[in-house]
């Protein structure tokens, strides 16, 4: 018996080694940044890999108040939360229609929406800039939010349509016979059953948009309207490099993403692996 137990350990060793390596590779940089966020810049330059001897928790207060991170955080929250809410509602409705109804030019509409998946942002950025200028939305948070909704719609519709189309048609027929209208069916059947898929898109969209840089840097110019990634960038000037502030800013930026992931990861994995709805 002990022999067999020992053998099973041996057999599992390569897998464990791989997982260990992977964890170091992904967790290591995070822990490094976390430790830097509690040190001063001079400490870091003296010994880049050292651990914080006397943790400088005050770094966070300095960053939050002194370095405008509170404004950036608030701007990011506004733009991203409203964009995620918008793209989820619009995307879910579009996905429901594409998955459920056979209407004229359905394939065309689907193609137009999903073609957003393959368009590189660099191609869109100039035209978006011009459109936002025309509509007086340039350098405004609502403008950025609308751009975010537009850019994330393709992926959202793609993911949700795949999930919604697996919901058996009988459920919709049953709800129709029970007297529910098309919108009520969307609201009371598709949405609750699609919760795992919707969470998946919420988390993915949140993470992608929270870290979004290109659109923000082109479409936002005023300092008081910058989002977090731009704010962090602020500490990487040509002549100065405040590494500790940078690390603190990164930690502040990571916290919401980590929280969202911690809360919804299980639902999200269910959404990504869900096959049939039964």
């Amino acid at each position: 018996m002990p022999m067999r137990l020992w053998l099973s350990y041996v057999r599992r060793t390569p897998l464990l080694l791989f997982l260990l390596g992977y964890t170091v590779l992904t967790g290591g940089p995070f822990l490094w940044v976390a430790s830097m966020s509690l040190r001063t810049t001079s400490e870091i330059f003296a010994n880049p890999y050292g651990l914080p001897r006397h943790p400088h928790w005050a770094n966070f207060a300095d960053a939050w108040i002194g370095s405008n991170y509170s404004t950036y955080f608030w701007n990011s929250s506004l733009a991203v939360v409203s964009a995620v809410a918008g793209v989820t509602v619009i995307g879910a409705m579009a996905a429901h229609c594409l998955a459920r109804y056979r209407f004229r030019s359905r394939r065309m509409i689907r193609f137009v929406i999903l073609s957003g998946l393959v368009l590189p942002p660099q191609m869109l950025i100039l035209s978006l800039f011009q459109i936002l200028l025309d509509y007086r939305l340039y350098d405004t948070l609502p403008g950025l939010s609308i751009v975010y909704i537009a850019t994330q719609l393709a992926m959202t519709v793609y993911l949700l349509e795949g999930f919604f189309s697996q919901i058996p048609q009988d459920l919709f027929d049953a709800a129709r016979m029970d007297g529910y209208s098309d919108f009520e069916i969307f609201w009371r059947i598709t949405l609750p059953i699609g919760v795992p898929a919707i969470f998946t898109t919420v988390v993915l969209n949140f993470v992608i948009l929270w870290n979004e840089f290109l659109y923000a840097v082109v479409l936002m110019t005023s300092d008081d309207k910058r989002t977090l990634p731009l704010g962090i960038m602020h500490f990487m000037g040509d002549h100065q490099l405040d590494v500790a502030m940078l690390a603190t800013g990164l930690m502040i930026a990571i916290i919401p993403v980590a929280l969202i992931y911690a809360c919804f990861s299980e639902t999200m994995i269910r959404g990504m692996t869900a096959g049939a709805v039964r």
Partner: protein, 370 residues
């Protein structure tokens, strides 16, 4: 309580394409249990979905109590349907599944509670009310689906192959349950199935469909005894009726049949009405249970080669080959058989139970009155 009538109902899914349902006419009386029976793809489910209002009608009419329903949306037809997949809402408890349809119809919450209790009691769902569908067995899901239809107190019940996802043992029990519930409630019911045993046991009348058309409508035993054509003859009954090519000749005042090199009289078929069929090829039909291992009466016999024996416990199925042409013949005999595989034996046939069909059209040749 309602009368459902369908008049020349047709369905084409693509313009210019084949008809899934062609000119189907049918009247279901108040409180009647009508079964639509046919092989898969025969159009029975399409017909049912048109009655439900889930599928647009290409031509013809569906009316309930004399009111034409073609343009009435599904929700306003006062019809409840049980689906093959049960279609229980997976995110709702059994209680909410039952109440979902009532809530939409502005039934007061106290009345909803009362009806849920009543239906749950009737179907033995009381201990399951708080469970979600995924935590139920197939039979329990089936009962919830049935309950969801009953609770609405609709004019008409529609069932779309509701038992096909259940295992054989459960199917028999649930079949009886559906039949009992329908008898007690007395709601007009249309039930779609491809299982002839289900149709025979459950319905007041059977409507047999094939290739989108109605072939025969009648009470189960009436259809079984007098199939309108060779399709119905083979579709009803398990094992199906044996169909064999034969020649019809006059044999005095009654018909005489030549079958696989043998000849015997059909004393119940007077020659008078059969003139058109004489000296022509016909299809002779004989049910497996009308073949006998031992001829106790004065019965004609056929020389057969025993190919296989399938003991089923209560009865035995014999797979036989007839004459030199090797026509396949199936017989259903008692529990024990003296036949052995590979033997040549005589098997007796009840000449009174013979059916005759036109060889080309398959239509039944009606037995002339004596």
């Amino acid at each position: 309580m309602a009368v459902v009538s369908i008049d020349r109902l047709s369905k084409q899914y693509a313009a210019g394409g084949d008809f899934a349902v062609r000119e189907v006419s049918l009247a279901v009386a108040d409180g009647e249990f009508m079964v639509l029976l046919g092989p898969s793809g025969c159009g029975k489910t399409s017909a049912l979905r048109m009655i439900a209002g889930l599928e647009p009608i290409t031509s013809g009419t569906v009316s309930i109590d004399g009111r034409i329903m073609n343009q009435v949306p599904a929700k306003d037809r006062d019809i409840a349907m049980v689906f093959q997949s049960y279609a229980l809402y997976p995110h709702m408890s059994v209680r909410d599944n039952l109440a979902f349809g009532l809530r939409r119809r502005n039934v007061s919450s106290s009345e909803v509670t009362r009806r849920v209790q009543e239906v749950a009691g009737r179907l033995g769902l009381m201990p399951l009310l708080a469970r979600k569908p995924h935590a139920l067995s197939g039979g329990q899901r089936q009962r919830v689906a049935l309950g969801r239809a009953i609770i609405r107190q609709p004019k008409v019940f529609l069932f779309d192959e509701p038992l096909s996802n259940l295992d054989a043992a459960l199917r028999v029990g649930t079949r009886a349950e559906i039949s009992r519930q329908q008898r007690e409630i007395g709601t007009t019911t249309i039930y779609v199935t491809h299982d002839q045993a289900e149709a025979m046991t459950i319905g007041h009348r059977i409507c047999i469909m094939n290739a989108g058309e109605v072939v025969q409508i009648g009470a189960p035993m009436e259809v079984y005894r007098n199939p309108a054509n060779s399709f119905v003859a083979r579709f009803l009954g398990n094992p199906p009726m044996n169909l064999l090519p034969a020649m019809l000749e006059p044999g005095g005042d009654h018909a005489r049949v030549f079958l696989a090199g043998m000849a015997f009289d059909l004393p119940h078929w007077p020659i008078g009405g059969l003139r058109a069929q004489l000296n022509r090829e016909v299809t002779l039909g004989i049910r497996p249970e009308d073949l006998y291992e031992n001829s106790t009466r004065l019965m004609p016999t056929l020389r057969v080669h025993v190919r296989a024996i399938e003991p089923l416990g209560a009865e035995t199925i014999l797979l036989l080959a007839l004459g030199q042409q090797n026509h396949e013949l199936v017989a259903r005999v008692g529990r024990e058989t003296s036949f052995r595989i590979g033997e040549w034996r005589d098997i007796a046939l009840d000449a009174a139970a013979v059916h005759l069909f036109d060889a080309s059209s398959g239509r039944a040749i009606s037995r002339p009155a004596a």
